[in-house]
């Protein structure tokens, strides 16, 4: 009681000093609150962002690391010959393929809520059925389809930002799209809904079924139908991509219209098969019935005369998870089963991680800020306490001389400091709570700007944003999406000219824009307040310890003798 009463009285007595401490503590508290709230918001965004969202993932091959592993022996074998052992490389890459059967086996994992796949094969035009061509440069047709630019463009939908190549079949889209049409076989409605070319609606007719009795039923795009004057119920004829003598007849069951603009896909050097308008959708049953299953191989001759074996169609197997936790569980459980060089990748997760980059940077900054502020705060409070104690040495002498125990004196000083610190903390946390959101959003937007500036300088260096509408330099906030694609493409290009199958994520090609998390919900909740109180208590305790040491050291007789 004595301690509390005296502490309370002294707080009001020494107004000037206490107001100074309150201001200092409040400033520390503001910075700490903002930092803490940002950290929490970033954690929440991380944890909650994908918590209740369905996640799709593919199994991807990190070809770079695979080839690296193969390098030493091949170098030894070739001796002084600097030419790489291409055959060994190719064989090694091929031997490690994952088949549809493997994929389906992995899908049995308990964490997988569902799975689906598509098989995409290239088809050639016939006299009666021709692809939609939007650019005169497409006259170059097949010859140009294997060019670098095409491969680069293909890769845009291909790997993640880390350069990994999804999929396990042969031949990437860059090579597969050398036909005029792409025949995409879907394993289920789920696969169809997640079509790579984006969402679509049926204009006429209906979608196909997946049983073998529905073989040869297809749906085609509205533009393709109009271009060839095809109606629902008509039969179309297309040719095999490698053997034009071999033709297939399909019954058009429906006509669909992509709800997403396909123009962004049409670079000047693209092959017509990669044009979404020239995609023919069917069931995997049909693709298999035609002998174009991904497990089948076809032999093609390259322009240099080499014979290359490629899969008849490229397989894209997608696993669906209920949430991020299930995805993580799958990653862990499947890791040991996967062939070397393969990893589970999720564009959803990657994209989300990418969108969190500025927020994570901000969180890092907030963490540093928090540590620095708390360290400086602790030092300031300890120094102030030391000054306070020294200044009040006489008071300590008098109190102990009239019989107040040293412990009580130390407790009184601690209580005073606690009252003052808590007042400062309340004021600071209050102000922090008020300014937290605008300040953190302002900081986040500057982080985003920084991120965008980096991307923009890259683009200026490479001069490669022509294909992105509205993504020109200085394009304002909109340009973020273009830049992000640039970044991805830049990182993908070293591995783009490949024969790996493309397992593009539906959301990647068109929609994978860097929608940076631009709004951080940095609010001060009870947890933040609780932590702030703990911080206040901790700081006070540190200072109190110093106070106690000083008080215990003082002898009243000495103090009073010095004074007199």
């Amino acid at each position: 009681m004595f301690v509390l009463k005296n502490a309370a009285r002294n707080v009001t007595r020494n107004k000037g000093r206490n107001i100074l401490i309150i201001i200092i503590v409040a400033i520390i508290a503001i910075a700490a609150t903002v930092g803490l709230a940002i950290l929490q918001a970033a954690q929440r965004a991380r944890a909650d962002g994908l918590a209740n969202t369905t996640i799709t993932a593919q199994i991807a091959m990190d070809r770079g690391s695979m080839m690296k592993k193969m390098e030493p022996p091949s170098t030894n074998e070739s001796g002084s010959d600097s030419k790489p052992d291409f055959d060994a490389m190719r064989n090694a890459l091929e031997s490690n393929q994952i088949t549809l059967e493997d994929y389906e086996q992995y899908a049995n994992d308990a964490a997988v809520s569902s799975s689906y796949y598509t098989e995409t094969a290239a088809l050639e035009k016939t006299d009666n059925f021709q692809p939609v061509e939007t650019s005169s440069s497409n006259a170059m047709g097949e010859a140009s389809s294997n060019s670098n630019s095409d491969a680069t463009a293909g890769a845009e939908r291909n790997g993640g930002p880390d350069g990994a190549i999804p999929g396990g079949g042969n031949g990437g889209l860059g090579n597969m799209v050398n036909g005029d049409f792409s025949l995409v076989g879907f394993s289920s409605d789920q696969a169809l809904a997640a079509a790579q070319n984006g969402a679509f609606t049926m204009v006429d007719g209906k979608a196909f079924n997946y049983t073998s009795s529905d073989d040869n039923d297809v749906i085609i795009s509205e533009n393709l139908a109009t271009f060839n004057n095809v109606k629902v119920g008509d039969t179309i004829t297309v040719a095999n991509a490698t053997d034009s003598a071999k033709t297939y007849k399909f019954k058009v069951l429906g006509i669909y219209k992509n709800t997403t603009d396909s123009q962004s896909f049409g670079g000047p050097m693209r092959s017509t098969a990669s044009d979404p308008d020239n995609a023919i959708y069917t069931s995997t049953a049909t693709v298999n019935a035609l002998g174009l299953a991904s497990d089948n191989t076809v032999t093609t001759e390259t322009s240099s005369g080499n014979e290359v074996k490629t899969a008849a169609s490229q397989l894209q197997f997608t696993y669906v998870f209920a949430d991020k936790a299930a995805y993580d569980e799958f990653c862990n459980s499947i890791a040991s089963q996967l062939p070397e060089g393969y990893t589970v990748q999720s564009a959803d997760v990657d994209q989300y991680e990418q969108s969190l980059v500025p927020l994570n940077n901000l969180a890092k900054f907030a963490k540093t800020l928090l540590i620095v502020v708390l360290a400086v705060g602790a030092v300031i409070i300890v120094v102030l306490t030391i000054f306070n104690i020294r200044e009040r040495k006489y008071e300590i002498g008098v109190l102990t001389a009239i019989g107040v125990r040293k412990g009580k004196v130390a407790a009184q000083f601690t209580t005073e400091l606690l009252i003052v610190t808590m007042l400062g903390l309340i004021v600071g946390t209050g102000i922090g709570a008020a300014v937290c959101k605008p300040v953190s959003n302002e900081m986040l937007s500057s982080q985003i700007t920084q991120q965008q500036t980096q991307a923009q300088s890259q683009r200026e260096q490479f001069g490669r944003d022509m294909m992105q509408p509205g993504g020109g330099p200085g394009g304002g906030p909109d340009s973020a999406s273009g830049e992000q694609n640039d970044e991805q493409r830049g990182s993908d290009s070293p591995t783009a000219n490949s024969s790996a199958p493309d397992v593009p994520n539906e959301k990647r090609g068109m929609n994978r824009m860097a929608n940076y998390v631009a709004d951080v919900n940095a609010t001060v909740n009870l947890k933040v307040i609780g932590i702030m109180m703990l911080i206040g208590l901790a700081l006070t305790l540190v200072a109190a310890l110093v106070a106690a040491v000083f008080v215990m050291r003082y002898e009243p007789l000495q103090i009073l003798a010095d004074r007199s």
Binding site: F2, N14, E395, L399, A401, I402, G403, L557, L560, S564
Partner: protein, 234 residues
């Protein structure tokens, strides 16, 4: 053995020094050497002696601010080493320091109340009433209660220090040069107050003083000489 203890007093001493020696450093020169004396309630003692005779040291020992290197200071038959010296200081002895040792930022009443609170005692009447009565007792106007110490003269501060020492009703009143800075009339008044405390309130009053006038007013004078045993005069 002092002359004082040889006197056949009927009253039990409230405070006694039993062969007390004191040196500031271990094994150093003794400031006090084998001092024994007893203090009884209802009497006023004056401790006199030249500078360096150990008057202030004796006062520190009696007030429990320091401990003897040899011997014991006994309060009501118990050595101070055995009892809690903080409790002793806050409840049993009221010390009036030479420099008063009041807290300048506090008011008169707050200074007095601080000692009352520190004693941990329960008071039967409101503290403000006790303070008012104490101020009257030391001949200070009651309105002074709200004055800050800094605004008071030396004599007034002395009175406040006495009032503070009395506030928790201690058995022993110990004062160091209580009239050092006061004019003769104030000095006489203060001495009178101390005499009243001893004779009317049956307290043991011990004054450390240079002043012959104060010494004359005391019931017993303890003369300290440099490294000599004290001589008690009746």
């Amino acid at each position: 053995m002092t002359q004082e203890t040889q006197q056949q007093e009927t009253q039990q001493p409230v405070l006694a020094l039993d062969h007390v020696s004191y040196s500031y450093t271990k094994g150093g020169r003794n400031v006090l050497n084998d001092v024994s004396m007893a203090f009884e309630p209802g009497k006023m003692y004056a401790i006199t002696g030249p500078s360096g005779a150990g008057k202030t040291t004796l006062l520190s020992l009696i007030s429990g601010l320091t401990t003897p290197t040899q011997g014991a200071v006994e309060y009501e038959g118990k050595s101070l080493a055995e009892i809690n010296r903080y409790d002793y200081r806050s409840q049993d002895i009221g010390v009036i320091f030479q420099s008063f040792n009041l807290l300048p930022s506090l008011t008169v009443a707050e200074n007095i109340e601080l000692s009352m609170d520190a004693s941990g005692r329960e008071f039967s009447e409101p503290k403000s009433d006790i303070i008012a009565r104490l101020l009257q007792q030391v001949h200070l106007p009651v309105e002074y209660a709200k004055q800050r110490i800094l605004h008071l003269s030396g004599g007034e501060q002395q009175r406040v220090a006495i009032a503070r020492a009395l506030s928790y009703d201690p058995h022993i009143i110990l004062a160091d040069e209580p009239t050092g800075n006061l004019d003769p009339s104030t000095q006489a008044d203060i001495v009178n107050i101390f005499r009243q405390l001893a004779h009317e309130q049956n307290r043991c009053v011990i004054l450390v003083t240079h002043s012959p006038a104060v010494a004359q007013a005391a019931d017993h004078v303890i003369q300290l000489t440099k490294l000599q045993r004290p001589v008690v005069q009746q």
